[in-house]
């Protein structure tokens, strides 16, 4: 199993898109930390970029990679190897390479300039989002046979989590603004890994005071140990569920 992972990482390490992604992240993070006068501000700017770029690149790149490797995956399936094991190895290879790109591009600058508190958390959330969206990409590629359709589904998923979901949440909160919505908004945040990541990091940065009463409720919930455990579990579920679904589907899929 780890043999397949090794070769996939070797392949992706020379991929121009991943190299460009790493260079882009590195450029952004270095310039952000050099332009802003305090590290916290730098983290805040980097946070907004990370929450958009990392999911987009992870899901689109992983989906395209899987479709381009379709014939090779067929050849590997004709070898004596379990299907679920094969797909799990491919996911691990993809996830490790994209995580490595993120670590080099954003992780190292953050650790150099602002490792304490929110900085470390930003790196962890970035890695978690990489894994979540790679898992979603594997699911999209396994469920749809057609390449164009699969990539379309991947971009739509990103669009939903990055933009549309926030609109829906705002709409709900606005419509029910006469009622106490704090608990509901915590529940809603579990439905979107990007939102969850943003909330967890913002709370760590002591600017939750700017978020009014909801901020206080968020702080009370996510601030404690249970809150961190809750956020961690939810993110893990966001990785595991799509992956397990994809593995289940792939184990009896016609290729």
């Amino acid at each position: 199993m780890n043999k397949i992972i090794k070769y996939i990482i070797l392949d992706i390490a020379r991929n121009k898109i991943v190299l460009a992604y790493t260079a882009f992240l590195l450029l952004i993070s270095l310039s952000v930390f050099n332009l802003e006068d305090t590290g916290v501000k730098g983290i805040l700017s980097l946070l907004n970029i990370t929450l958009i770029i990392v999911p987009l690149v992870s899901i689109v790149f992983a989906t395209i990679y899987l479709y381009n490797a379709a014939e090779f995956i067929e050849l590997l399936i004709s070898q004596p190897i379990r299907r679920t094991r094969l797909l799990a190895s491919i996911f691990t290879g993809l996830a490790l390479s994209l995580s490595l790109a993120f670590l080099i591009g954003a992780g190292i600058p953050v650790l150099i300039y602002h490792a304490a508190g929110a900085g470390g958390l930003l790196v962890i959330i970035g890695l978690a989002l990489t894994l979540v969206f790679t898992a979603l990409a594997v699911l999209a590629a396994v469920l749809t046979r057609d390449k164009a359709k699969g990539i379309g589904v991947a971009i739509l998923l990103w669009f939903y989590f990055a933009l549309i979901f926030d609109g829906i949440v705002l709409f709900i909160l606005f419509q029910f603004s006469d009622y106490p919505m704090e608990k509901t908004s915590i529940a809603l945040s579990t439905l979107n890994p990007i939102d969850l990541g943003r909330i967890v990091i913002l709370l760590k940065m002591d600017i939750s005071a700017m978020m009014g009463y909801s901020g206080a409720v968020f702080r009370q919930f996510f601030g404690g140990l249970w809150g961190s455990l809750y956020a961690g579990t939810v993110l893990l579920l966001w990785i595991a569920m799509p992956l397990l679904w994809a593995l289940r589907r792939f184990s009896h899929k016609d290729l």
């Binding site: 070797l10 991929n15 050849l75 004709s78 070898q79 004596p80 190897i81 299907r83 016609d254 290729l255």
Partner: protein, 236 residues
């Protein structure tokens, strides 16, 4: 060695395989022939466990292949189109498959040598021509000395010299008592390799007989003519 019993497969509304029953034994070289879309590739994929039949059973050395993967250690497969990850070198693809197989069978490096692949082992896959990728695919199929070889359009894209080398290799493996399944549209090249012919049409097995029997039945000396005769009479 391989038996298929009443195999059915449907993709949506399209019935791709209809009640196919076939038996193949060691030492046979079987040509799977049929028009485009007759279900040849789907049948091969069923044997390899890539496509799961809706009903029916396929056995390999007496064992049901459903939900099993170990049996594939005895099969070498050469796909119709050889596509590999762009940035892997030929050497890496070879090593990867060797790592997956890991069995201590003697490696058969006749084909990579005949195709002189060692000179370009460090080239990356996206720099190779379609024909060279086909050569890599063929070499991989034979590399692990499998008892069964399944070749899907093996000579498509190969230059005449390489096609001839591959043909020679197929003939030698057949004489060693291996089972070889070939699909091809180029019937003339099958003439002196195959011992049996299985003819599929619209997902149905029309016949499975030895080449000499077929020639005798149709009164033709060439496989091309014999098949043409079969198709003509089928149309009547």
């Amino acid at each position: 060695m391989i038996t298929a019993e009443h195999v059915n497969k449907r993709f949506g509304k399209l019935q791709v395989l209809r009640d196919i029953s076939l038996t193949f034994s060691p030492g046979q070289a079987v040509a799977l022939i049929g028009p485009n879309g007759s279900g040849k590739t789907t049948f091969i994929k069923c044997l390899l466990g890539m496509v799961v039949p809706d009903s029916g059973m396929i056995t390999f050395n007496g064992q049901d292949i459903a939900h099993s993967w170990q049996y594939r250690a005895g099969i070498g497969y050469m796909p119709q189109i050889g596509r590999f990850p762009d940035n892997m070198t030929i050497a890496q693809v070879f090593n990867m498959l060797k790592d997956i197989r890991k069995d201590e069978r003697l490696l058969d490096e006749d084909l990579p040598q005949a195709f002189q692949l060692h000179k370009i082992m460090d080239k990356r896959m996206h720099t190779l021509s379609g024909g060279t990728r086909q050569k890599v695919g063929a070499s991989l199929a034979f590399l692990f000395n499998p008892d069964v070889l399944i070749l899907d359009e093996p000579s498509a894209g190969l230059d005449p010299l390489a096609a001839e080398l591959l043909k020679e290799k197929i003939r030698r493996e057949k004489e060693k008592g291996k089972l070889i399944l070939i699909t091809s549209h180029i019937l003339s090249e099958l003439d002196d390799i195959v011992s049996d012919v299985a003819y599929l049409q619209e997902g149905q097995l029309k016949f499975h007989k030895t080449l000499s029997q077929l020639k005798c039945d149709t009164g033709e000396q060439k496989l091309v003519r014999a098949i043409a005769r079969v198709m003509e009479t089928a149309d009547l």
